[in-house]
């Protein structure tokens, strides 16, 4: 569903953010990209969303090149950012309606909104609340609700659990599991090794723009993912 092929990005100031990175995220899979700040995780997402062009290589969603046919590619993907920011003066319902209509979902009824609110664990009355009264956790859930309303086969999440309290984070992971069960291909960038271990089917470890390792769930299910991560980082350091 999501395919990254020899993707390279060098910024105008010469910084190499991505260095020939390749991987795939299949339907019904959660792929977590782990790495320190500046490792190139968010750059990958920015290329997938056509916010920046790649220097070389390609990124495709459902077979559509994100750089050459961005609008076609973005039909099949939703995006949940690190800090979901919506229109504070609008109610949750107005925000949902706006983004759903932008995604081509017209004629949604109250029950559709109630349904996604229930799925993401927000009370029904929250639909009528202005977003400026929402907590970060609630906004994050509403971000997922927007993604659900669009109902695309792929979802990109950039540090989605950052800043969430433990309860909200747990609810969030439950939500991800349900999305996986519905066959969504989910690419998550995160620092949070603990939660990556809980949710990921595969993890990719990035360092200074390179994908230094990909580990399957069976590799870290009973092991310490942090140890694997540190080990891979040190190995990459030695190689470089």
């Amino acid at each position: 569903m999501i395919e990254i092929n020899e993707l390279t990005k060098r910024y105008e100031d010469g910084v190499l953010a991505l260095d020939h990175v390749s991987y795939k995220v299949e339907p019904g899979e959660i792929f977590c990209l782990l790495g320190a700040n500046g490792a190139g995780k968010t750059t990958t997402i920015n290329i997938l969303l056509d916010f920046i062009p790649p220097t070389s290589g390609s990124a495709t969603i459902n077979g559509h090149d994100c750089n050459k046919f961005p609008l076609e590619a973005k039909k099949y993907v939703s995006y949940v950012s690190e800090n979901v920011q919506l229109y504070g003066m609008f109610t949750a319902r107005q925000n949902l309606a706006f983004f759903a209509e932008l995604a081509g979902k017209k004629g949604l009824k109250k029950k559709d909104y109630d349904n996604v609110m229930r799925i993401v664990g927000l009370p029904e009355r929250a639909l009528r609340m202005r977003l400026k009264h929402y907590s970060k956790g609630m906004r994050q859930k509403l971000g997922i609700a927007i993604a659900l309303l669009k109902d695309p086969p792929a979802i990109l999440m950039d540090e989605p659990t950052s800043g969430l309290d433990p309860t909200s984070a747990k609810e969030f992971l439950d939500q991800l599991r349900r999305l996986r069960e519905r066959g969504k291909a989910i690419l998550i960038t995160t620092h949070d090794i603990f939660r990556a271990k809980m949710i990921a089917d595969r993890v990719g470890i990035m360092k200074q723009g390179r994908l230094v390792a990909i580990r399957k769930r069976q590799d870290f299910k009973h092991a310490d993912l942090e140890e694997i991560y540190m080990h891979e980082m040190e190995a990459a350091e030695t190689v470089s």
């Binding site: 920015n46 969303l49 916010f51 920046i52 609008l71 973005k74 039909k75 993907v77 939703s78 995006y79 950012s81 800090n83 979901v84 920011q85 919506l86 229109y87 504070g88 003066m89 609008f90 107005q94 706006f98 983004f99 209509e101 932008l102 995604a103 081509g104 971000g143 927007i146 669009k150 990109l156």
Partner: protein, 472 residues
């Protein structure tokens, strides 16, 4: 998809404090402009009709002797235009009186102004409110349109969807124009209701067309500032920076550039005074008088005794006519130089959309400098008509020498022009004619073209800029 963006933007704008404030301010200003106009217009109309009737009464007295009609210094006054509530066009600092007889026209003058210090206050008319206040409101609605959404984090989310960037930009533009249109139309409506309901003023169907044209151009003008706001917003990462840049641009375009016209006019050519004109007229007439021999024997001599042998009326007529033609030419040159000096300043200030909009609106409303020039130009054909009338009546008088030239003493003593009375009803009277809308549009076409050009430039700039905008 554009519809969703437009709806969202309008809702966001309408819910903001800046919208409420601009709506209230605009309505209050337009209402004030309506009341100020009514109080001024009633007095101006009264003055105008009094002076015009006085002039006609005096002209009636002159019709008791034909020759006096030719030498009577008529006064034409600038008619107060009903559309000055749209654009006053600095009329109170422009000449309001045009003095002329059959042979010459004096330079336009200012007459009967009660308090000569009053013109220093700007008038609150539509164009003032729109060009100054609403242009600023346009920037207030757009300065954070793009960079503000980036700061807020919503732009990423919008552009992560399948909407093309140009549609986002177009949606924002249309929404800003629509939001701006609300206070504008509300204000215009309030002003029109005040003006129309007063019954002091009758707005003709032609005037309504002119008002519609000005409203359309007001949107075109505000569109420049909306696009400028979008452009700067799409060139900056922070709304605070965008606001500062736009504030500077607004001061430059709306305040500094229009004010620089006078400086540029002063620098481009010498300021001509009435003394310069007097000197020029003296020199010109002296030059012709010095060559009086070529006009015939005794052309320069004159006796009040019609039978005196030194009199040579035909030679005298040729000489004085030559002097009149030369001094008229000098006066015209002086007038044209004054206009050219003003035009230099005005052309330079065409870099400001505010000046262009103001100028185009003045032409359509028939106010401002174009009003003065139009009135001045109407005097010449009237002089020709009156001269023709005098000539045809004079031809019927066998006592007249039938020499129609600019020397009242000769006309009185020698009867160069008939002394018979004429029927006043048949005497041509000067009446100011308004330019037809088509003619006004023709005069304003370049200014409108420039406004359209401003729109195109800023639209292209904001479009290109937003396509390259780093939304991260």
């Amino acid at each position: 998809m554009i519809r969703q963006i437009v709806r969202k933007e309008i809702l966001e704008n309408v819910l903001s404090l800046r919208f409420i404030l601009s709506l209230l301010l605009t309505i209050a200003l337009f209402a004030a402009s309506g009341f100020v106009f009514l109080s001024r217009y009633a007095k101006q109309s009264q003055d105008y009709w009094k002076k015009t009737n006085d002039n006609l009464s005096a002209l009636r007295e002159q019709s008791s002797q034909l020759y006096r009609l030719a030498f009577y210094q008529q006064k034409a006054f600038r008619k107060p235009k009903p559309l000055t509530f749209c654009v006053e066009g600095f009329e109170k600092s422009l000449p309001n009186c045009f003095i002329f007889n059959v042979f010459t026209t004096e330079l336009p003058a200012i007459e009967g102004r009660g308090n000569f210090t009053l013109p220093h206050f700007s008038d609150i008319d539509w164009v003032f409110i729109i060009s100054l206040i609403l242009s600023f409101v346009a920037l207030a609605f757009t300065y954070d349109s793009i960079c503000g959404e980036k700061e807020q984090g919503t732009l990423c989310l919008v552009l992560a969807g399948t909407i093309p960037r140009y549609k986002v930009l177009l949606g924002k533009y249309l929404a800003a124009m629509f939001t701006l249109g609300m206070p504008l139309l509300a204000g215009l409506l309030v002003s029109l209701v005040i003006v129309v309901s007063s019954k002091e003023i009758v707005i003709s169907p032609g005037d309504w067309l002119r008002i519609l044209t000005i409203v359309f151009w007001s949107f075109l003008y505000l569109s420049v500032f909306v696009l400028l706001g979008l452009f700067v917003s799409s060139r900056t990462a922070h709304s605070a920076n965008s606001m500062v840049i736009l504030l500077l641009a607004w001061v430059g375009l709306v305040i500094l550039l229009p004010s620089s016209g006078k400086i540029i006019s002063g620098v481009s050519s010498k300021n001509l005074t009435r003394a310069d004109l007097e000197r020029r007229l003296d020199e010109t007439s002296r030059r012709v008088w010095d060559n009086h021999e070529k006009f015939g024997k005794n052309a320069a001599s004159m006796s009040t005794d019609p039978k005196s042998p030194i009199n040579n009326p035909p030679a005298r007529a040729r000489l004085v006519t030559a002097v009149t033609e030369a001094t008229n030419q000098a006066r015209n040159d002086h007038h044209n130089q004054l206009l050219a000096q003003t035009l230099t300043g005005r052309n330079f200030t065409s870099l400001s959309p505010t000046v262009i909009y103001q100028r185009a609106s003045e032409v359509i409303a028939g106010t401002g400098i174009s009003h003065c020039v139009n009135l001045y130009q109407q005097i010449k054909p009237y002089q020709t008509d009156l001269k023709e009338y005098i000539r045809s009546n004079d031809a019927e008088d066998s006592n007249s020498l039938h020499l129609i030239y600019d020397e009242e003493g000769c006309a009185r003593h020698w009867t160069t022009i008939s002394h018979k009375a004429v029927d006043f009803d048949t005497v041509p009277k000067f009446q100011e004619r308004d330019l037809a809308l088509g003619q006004s549009l023709k005069l304003a076409i370049w200014d409108i073209g420039l406004l359209v050009l401003f729109n195109l430039v800023f639209f292209t700039a904001s479009f290109v800029s937003f396509l390259r905008y780093d939304v991260r």
